[in-house]
């Protein structure tokens, strides 16, 4: 130890970092965490829409730190845009715990076939599909561990794509839901579809120092005031701190990771709270800055040994970036279409629905030439925060409203109906037009090159997305919703990202090995979603957590052997 500042240095403190921080500090290893954002505590979080979404105070000021996004315009040309000029924003949460503080925490496991997409469904032209180097069975014990350690609530109800489980049910009972959850189930039955409870990374009963969810109805995009949401901060880091082995350094932005000429990292360089340059030495380094920033940091860490960026002699870093494929749609349930009793049950401030249709996780349809990978449909009620609702009331038939017309429309939107929604998740197929590189001209406030993110998508995303959205629309219509729509586009949901440093057995076309250790750098691991070569047809965080617990076991074994 004397030669090192710590055993393990972790860059980032979000979902990919939390399990490493927790497990390694509990195993007695000295852990230093370098997190670029501030250390916001539970008491700092409120349900203030100004802070969370109007002024985005949980993410960096875009004038200071931005991205360049490259997208195909409607005329078919690739066009660059600086995110400081509006449009996409690729930051999701910059503080201790990262974006896991602000997630909605829909927690679906990946299914066994997701680990072998290539073998099970074959190649698709223009998509870089590969099998994972591990199987579902390798990850299953860690999904179970996540459910227990960080707390997942739900109820297992069998359906045709139910993945095998080592435990019969979730450790915490399902959260209370709005009556519309039952209507959704009935709406599915009309078509012979089995709509089942969806699990959440939210505890429905107290656990350790964390209180149960109090249904604040301001969940996604907001920090949790009861610590019920399984953020890396509330569920893992706070416990790790109790061991005395964990040193969290907020406002510490890592800008270069240096190696010794022998495939080993010696130091992580960072700017501290006063923007002074500092460094940390460690036996092992784990990078978990979220997909885009992880690739950017590796690409920035160039030296003679790695002229193209750390662990990038293969040229694979930043490639095959993933987002969640699919889209969403909605409709309105008018109160005057309901009986008084139903209206009284429905029109309450309780927005949880937690029901999903997973029957189409595999599609068997001639349109797709037989069996093809499908996806998940989650059912929801519109979020409670009022700004999106007032925006929807601003226009009628494309005309900007003002005066009494505007007021009537607002009143109608808020008091005579509720908007119900569905979200579709399908595989975002990895492709050559979706990747991270460094911009050659634009820098952040420290003078470091910003990440340039090309956002190309595969047409199959839209085909599968539309297939699933049609099912979602049918269910909405079956429960009496009107003005039912779908929106399936190639625009990625920038809060759900993975890939860029995919793992695999072949060092020529992957960055990491099966343990998420860099093929080219002996003491470098990447544990955020970057490791995923494909992401399944679900949001990624449950899998990111599970995989990071798996890597933590490997690290403890490795450090034990080296001691």
């Amino acid at each position: 130890m004397a030669d090192f500042d710590c055993d393990i240095c972790i860059v980032g403190s979000g979902a990919g970092a939390g399990p490493i921080i927790y497990e390694l500090s509990r195993a007695g290893y000295k852990v230093v965490v370098l997190e670029k954002g501030p250390w916001l505590k539970t008491a700092d979080f409120t349900k203030d829409e100004m802070t969370a979404t109007r002024r985005d105070a949980y993410t960096p000021n875009l004038e200071e730190e931005r991205h360049i996004v490259v997208k195909k315009s409607s005329s078919g040309n690739w066009t660059e845009k600086n995110t400081a000029d509006g449009g996409s924003d690729l930051w999701n949460g910059s503080c201790v715990g990262g974006s896991s503080n602000f997630m909605s925490a829909y927690f679906h496991r990946m299914k066994p076939n997701d680990f072998q997409l290539y073998s099970k469904y074959g190649p698709i032209d223009g998509a870089n599909i590969v099998d994972w180097p591990i199987k579902y069975d390798d990850l299953e014990p860690y999904y179970a561990k996540v459910e227990k350690v960080i707390g997942v609530s739900g109820k297992v109800v069998d359906h045709k794509h139910q993945e095998p489980r080592s435990t019969p049910d979730y450790p915490h009972p399902p959260l209370t839901t709005n009556i519309v959850a039952d209507w959704f189930v009935e709406g599915g039955k009309k078509e012979g579809w089995n709509i089942v409870p969806a699990a959440r990374g939210i505890i429905s009963e107290p656990k350790d120092d964390r209180r149960a969810c109090y249904h604040s109805n301001y969940c996604g995009s907001y920090g949790c005031s009861s610590d019920a949401k399984a953020s890396s901060r509330a569920a893992l880091i706070n416990k790790a701190l109790k061991t005395g082995n964990c040193d969290i350094r907020p406002l510490s932005k890592v800008y270069h990771i240096a190696t010794n000429g022998q495939n080993e990292i010696v130091k992580a360089h960072y700017y501290d709270a006063d923007d002074n340059k500092q460094s940390v030495t460690a036996k092992i380094f784990v990078v978990a800055c979220q997909a885009v920033e992880t690739s950017r940091l590796l690409l920035m860490s160039k030296n003679e040994e790695f002229p193209n960026g750390l662990a990038n002699n293969s040229g694979q870093v930043g490639k095959n970036l993933l987002f969640a494929g699919g889209g969403a749609g909605s409709g309105y349930i008018r109160f005057d279409s309901l009986s008084e009793e139903d209206r009284n049950k429905f029109d309450v401030p309780l927005t949880f629905v937690n029901q999903a249709l997973i029957d189409f996780y595999e599609i068997d349809d001639p349109e797709f030439g037989g069996k093809a990978k499908g996806g998940t449909i989650d059912f929801l009620i519109e979020h409670s925060n009022p700004m999106p609702k007032v925006f929807r009331s601003k226009y009628k038939n494309g005309t900007l409203l003002y005066g009494s017309d505007l007021k009537e429309n607002l009143q109608d939107y808020f008091t005579k109906q509720k908007r119900v929604r569905y979200e579709v998740f399908c595989d975002w197929l990895p492709n050559d037009d979706c990747h991270v590189s460094l911009d050659e001209n634009v820098t952040d406030k420290w003078g470091d090159p910003v990440g340039k993110v090309k956002l190309g998508y595969h047409e199959q995303n839209l085909k599968v997305g539309n297939f699933l959205a049609d099912k979602g629309m049918t269910v909405l219509k079956n429960i009496g919703a009107i003005k039912v729509t779908k929106s399936i586009t190639g625009n990625p949901p920038t809060n759900l990202m993975a890939g860029g440093c995919r793992f695999g057995d072949d060092p020529k076309n992957s960055v990491l090995n099966a343990n998420c250790q860099a093929h080219e750098v002996n003491n470098l691991y990447v544990t955020d979603g970057s490791f995923m070569p494909t992401g399944g047809s679900v949001p990624y965080t449950f899998t990111i957590y599970a995989n990071a617990f798996r890597v933590a076991d490997h690290l403890i074994e490795r450090l034990g052997k080296e001691a």
């Binding site: 700092d44 349900k47 203030d48 100004m50 802070t51 105070a57 000021n61 923007d275 009022p386 601003k394």
Partner: protein
């Protein structure tokens, strides 16, 4: 006196939020220039009652803003009006917020007030503040159709809507009038002086450690 017409350049983010590449700097220069000119551009007769000016707005600009807010969100017997939600006070808070808000956006609010006055001059040959209530309503209605006015009006309406439903701590939604009218239950905990947006943003920007 007729103020000199300035080119009404609309920041692209208000033209089409999804549109690529905005030339922000050029706009800012134009906006600041326009702002400087209007300080000398107004002339009003003594009979017109003006709202008090402040550190950012001349009395004329303040009056135009107040009138526009009340026309966009009027007292029509249905719920609160712009006064009831203190939309003017809220816009002043916004104009003072430069922490994580683009100065161009604030300049755009001001430059629009000047354009409003110019348009009054072009159509009625009179400064905005001297128009009758009917003329003001007709003119503001017209803004929503004009090239420059469409985007500016949309932004002002967004500010009114923010004043209607955001937390009263930022000056709007006085006595929770907006929430009460819309039957909206806010989320808890609500922001306090210790954790309102500016305090969190200062931490995010390393201004407070």
């Amino acid at each position: 006196m007729k103020s000199k017409t300035v080119k009404k350049s609309i920041p692209n983010r208000y033209l089409d939020l999804e549109q690529w590449q905005t030339d922000r700097r050029k706009f800012l220069r134009g906006a600041l220039l326009a702002g400087a000119m209007t300080q000398i551009g107004f002339f009003t007769s003594c009979s017109t009652k003006l709202k008090e000016g402040n550190d950012l707005l001349t009395a004329e600009q303040a009056t135009i803003l107040n009138d526009v807010l009340n026309i966009f969100f009027p007292n029509d017997g249905n719920g609160p009006d712009a006064e009831d939600i203190n939309a003017f006070g809220y816009v002043m808070w916004v104009l003072h917020d430069t922490l994580n808000r683009k100065i161009e956006d604030n300049a755009y609010i001001l430059v629009g007030l000047n354009w409003a006055d110019e348009t009054a001059q072009e159509i009625y040959f009179s400064p905005f503040v001297e128009l009758s209530q009917e003329q003001k309503e007709a003119l503001v209605g017209k803004f929503t159709e004009l090239d420059w006015g469409k985007n500016w009006s949309s932004m002002i309406i967004t500010l009114i809507l923010e004043a209607l439903v955001l937390d009263p701590i930022y000056g709007g939604n006085k006595n929770e009038a907006g929430w009460n009218w819309l039957n909206h239950t806010p989320g808890f905990p609500r922001p306090t002086e210790e954790n309102r947006y500016e305090r969190i943003m200062e931490k995010q920007m390393k201004l407070v450690k």
